[in-house]
């Protein structure tokens, strides 16, 4: 578990504290609204909500630089927003509009924001791990200092690609952070019903890799653990398996009867809500006044209203473009993966300059 000393509040400025809280709140409210919009028929397909797990994305992104790369899953709205993708571009994607992150072609499960080195939501469980290994290999071969952070769930640990990827990354000492969001369920199958060894981080030892578990309900603990992991990776120690122990409050996708778990279990975990517990800590430390909280709420509400407006107003991709980008247009240089080659540019994922914080 994370080093408590590094995850306490003593070193935290109020500005950063409110930014972390604000990001988690934004993701929470954004997804609550998305669920409503799904029921209203504005969003279709699958909609996998991250509610309950926000501390992992927000904590982890603080420790990653704009230069680092991210590979994500189909439960990735929180990852994208924490990385700095605008709520409007995420919402528009869920609406299927052309101003969405992936031009409305991917939907909820396939948010790509390559300008922020966000290499997509992958909806094949564990399908992103080999890609992360390859991105890291490219970084190593080209002498770049980037780390590739690969998010996946506990279900991915069942897949061969998890084991193959850990082995290959460790064998070649590649700069990959394997970040397992263990929410205790592979869809509806509980961890103890799909893994012989439920201590997921322990599997790192089988591949001579550093590994650790962290309380995924504690944003500061996650940030501290990811920071340490990234330091060891950048120091040349090879990949790192970090298991964030967390919980999903909602159904696997929008609706399921939740036959696979007790309501009491969900209620127990809700007592550890990453937003409420963090807010309580901040109040106790004098870092969150009632006015601050109100201000965060209204700022988040305004951002979500703006996101919905942008999604509503966004255009549909013309049907004539259906076949566009099955292949790269001939005019595009064969060399280009522009984001991979682009000079580093700052992105909006770092907590400091947050529009949520005015003082």
């Amino acid at each position: 578990m994370a080093d408590e000393k590094k995850s306490d509040l003593s070193a935290l400025s109020q500005q950063r504290a409110l930014a972390l809280l604000g990001q988690m709140l934004l993701i929470r409210r954004f997804e609550e609204k998305a669920a409503e919009l799904y029921s209203l028929g504005k969003i279709h397909g699958f909609l996998h909500l991250y509610i309950g797990e926000e501390a992992v994305a927000v904590g982890a992104m603080q420790a990653l630089s704009s230069d680092d790369e991210i590979v994500s899953t189909y439960r990735e709205h929180g990852h994208a927003i924490a990385r700095g993708s605008t709520p409007a571009s995420v919402m528009a994607e869920m609406y299927g509009k052309a101003n969405g992150l992936s031009r409305g072609r991917g939907g909820s499960m396939h948010l790509f924001d390559v300008g922020r080195r966000f290499y997509g939501g992958n909806a094949i469980v564990a399908g992103g791990l080999p890609v992360a290994v390859g991105l890291a290999l490219a970084n190593k071969l080209q002498g770049r200092k980037r780390v590739t952070a690969c998010f996946f769930g506990d279900g991915a640990v069942d897949e061969g690609e998890f084991h193959e990827s850990l082995n290959m990354a460790a064998l070649w000492k590649l700069p990959v952070l394997f970040l397992c969001e263990n929410n205790l369920y592979a869809m509806g199958t509980g961890l103890e019903r799909h893994q012989s060894q439920t201590d997921i981080q322990a599997k790192s030892r089988a591949y001579s890799m550093n590994g650790e578990a962290v309380d995924g309900m504690d944003v500061l603990a996650v940030e501290a653990a990811v920071t340490r992991a990234i330091e060891t990776i950048r120091g040349g120690a090879g990949p790192f398996l970090l298991e964030a122990r967390t919980y999903r409050y909602r159904a696997h996708s929008m609706y399921d009867p939740e036959l696979y778990r007790d309501k009491s279990e969900v209620e127990q975990w809700k007592k550890r809500c990453p937003i409420e517990t963090f807010a309580a800590k901040l109040r106790k430390a004098g870092l969150l006044a009632d006015d601050d909280w109100k201000e965060l709420q209204s700022s988040v509400a305004a951002q979500i209203a703006q996101a919905i407006a942008a999604a509503e107003a966004g255009p549909w991709e013309p049907v004539e473009d259906l076949l566009k980008d099955v292949h790269t247009p001939a005019t595009k240089s064969a060399q280009s993966n522009s984001a991979a080659d682009a000079p580093d540019e700052p992105i909006a994922n770092q907590a400091q300059p947050s529009p949520l914080v005015k003082r």
């Binding site: 992936s102 790509f112 399908g127 791990l129 080999p130 193959e164």
Partner: protein, 328 residues
């Protein structure tokens, strides 16, 4: 300058040139390094280019192909060798769900300039887990370019052309072709990877084929010629996108077509070609399109049984004769 070399050496010549001219290119796969490649295509390259660029991988097809995709996203130009087409099924998820899909699904944000090479086909008594021809499955997938070089010149030139593509390319090398002798112009520009090639001109019958079956079709054409039937032989070369135009032009001239395909008949490339000829040249035909495909069995080990399962010159000749005897 033209040099005599086997197909295997032609592949190696292409690999060497690609590695020399572009430092982003690297070769990765099972036993490509110290072992020299399961079919010796990369023999000697480790010494010349070192272990970073001639990279032996664990036996993890899905992950080393996926890593090729990631490396391509990261600005490299990986060539991934999968030992045989049967093993490539372990990597099908990465090829279909990622390599072929990422560009369109991301709204055009990324390209995946990945080249995957693999050995295909039967004839070496390797039985039912090393001998199949799944080219049609790959040719089914939008987003992929699928190549099947049948000549030594193409083995070299199509590899180099594939590396100029911004999107994923799958190259099938038939195992029976590796020792094939031939002449290769090593200064020729990269091969065309859009068009089929007419390998023999004829007026009475079109034999349409690709990969390891080309030599059989050409041999059959010689035999048919002795019987007074002049066959035009089309080497498809590119299995996706299919060069329908070249096929239709030939069929419109000969009015008869036999498709020779080492894949199984059901759901085959032969089926697709037959449908296109029917759709677009129905009234040019003097006889129904005929197909010579592999028998619908897992390819067996015994030589006589393996031979019986595969398209053979004698079968092609027989089908060609029958077709020309109809509606004279």
């Amino acid at each position: 300058m033209t040099a005599s070399m086997t197909y295997r050496e032609a592949v190696r010549s292409g690999l060497r040139e690609a590695l020399r001219k572009d430092e982003r290119v690297f070769l990765m796969g099972e036993d490509v390094g110290r072992y020299g490649g399961a079919f010796a295509c990369s023999h000697g390259l480790l010494k010349e280019f070192g272990p970073e660029r001639i990279r032996d991988t664990p036996l993890s097809e899905s992950t080393f192909v996926g890593a090729g995709i990631g490396a391509a996203l990261g600005g490299m130009r990986p060539i991934v060798e999968v030992m045989t087409i049967n093993f490539s099924l372990l990597a099908l998820d990465q090829i279909v769900n990622n390599a072929a899909t990422l560009r369109h699904m991301s709204g055009g944000q990324v390209s995946v300039p990945l080249v995957v090479r693999m050995a295909t086909g039967a004839g070496r008594q390797l039985a039912a887990q090393h001998s199949h021809s799944f080219e049609a499955w790959y040719a089914h997938i939008p987003g992929l370019t699928v190549l099947a070089p049948a000549t030594n010149q193409d083995a070299r030139g199509m590899l180099l052309a594939a590396l100029d593509e911004p999107d994923p390319v799958i190259i099938f090398e038939h195992t029976m072709l590796y020792p094939q002798p031939g002449e290769v112009d090593q200064e020729a520009p990269t091969a065309d990877i859009r068009r089929a090639a007419v390998r023999r001109e004829g007026t009475d019958l079109t034999l349409i084929t690709y990969s390891g079956s080309l030599v059989k079709a050409l041999a059959a054409a010689e035999e048919l010629a002795r019987l007074g039937i002049e066959s035009e032989v089309i080497d498809l070369r590119v299995l996706r996108p299919l060069d329908t135009e070249t096929v239709l032009a030939s069929v419109s001239k000969t009015h008869r077509a036999v498709i020779v395909d080492e894949g199984w008949r059901s759901g085959s490339l032969a089926a697709e070609l037959s449908a296109r000829i029917m759709e677009q040249a129905f009234y040019e035909l003097d006889a129904p399109v005929a197909r010579v495909c592999s028998a619908e069995v897992p390819i067996p080990y015994s030589k006589h049984m393996e031979d019986a399962a595969l398209p053979q010159v004698s079968t092609i000749v027989q089908v060609g004769r029958e077709l020309c005897a109809k509606n004279e």
